[in-house]
Symmetry: C2
Subunit: 110 residues, 2 copies
DNA sequence: CCGTATCCTTAAGGATACTG
DNA sequence: CAGTATCCTTAAGGATACGG
């Protein structure tokens, strides 16, 4: 039994999965690997997930140290999200998962 | 936009994550990589998750073709779960995730 | 030992409206 | 454009009891 942030985990993979849990976190991380993205770009990538949900996920990822954001003091506001070094280290695993999926699920487009 | 089993996914990583979503699936898959396990062994590994939940997850993994089970006609019954080839192919990604977690979260034991 | 059924609680996700 | 607030629906997980 292991502990992190007052939560209990039965093993390391359990904790690792916790950090990318939810419908959108892995998707966000994968796309941020290509470079910084603005809020609206991420919303487009996620096919229009609501602002509330997208913000929730971005905040959680930031709190877990996987991404950080830069706010430019302009009008209208501009904010960019990008991976931290910790977040970049997670990419190889996500990349392998994606490759496995592409290989085994050549599924219908549209 | 991609489709699989009547569900929609925004990209491949989205589908890949869907298959290992939930509190226990990745944990089960990782431990099955060491070899076949019985129901009670898996329950012990998951620190006593309820039978209902464990069965749900095992059934979902089986339906997705990641594991299969062998039922031995004995009394008391004996059932063994193990990875399919498809499931084995997923292990490298999970293994990388675990390594990343071990490296970055050397957290408190117990 | 393994699996099912029932009931319950909480967490996740979405719709919408509003603000600087 | 980015973020917050409110409300709502559904999905996930757990407790318990029972049956082959």
């Amino acid at each position: 039994m292991l502990k992190y942030k007052n939560k209990k985990f039965v093993c390391h993979i359990d904790l690792g999965m916790e950090l990318i849990r939810g419908k959108w976190k892995a998707v966000i991380l994968c796309h941020l690997n290509d470079g910084p993205k603005r809020f609206l770009e991420l919303q487009r990538i996620t096919c229009g997930v609501s602002q509330k949900v997208l913000n929730e996920k971005l905040t959680e990822l930031e709190n877990d140290g996987l991404i950080f954001k830069t706010t430019y003091p302009e009008v209208p506001p501009r904010v960019e999200y990008e991976l931290t070094d910790l977040g970049k280290g997670l990419f190889p695993a996500l990349d392998l998962l994606e490759q496995w999926t592409v290989k085994n699920y050549p599924f219908d487009k549209k």
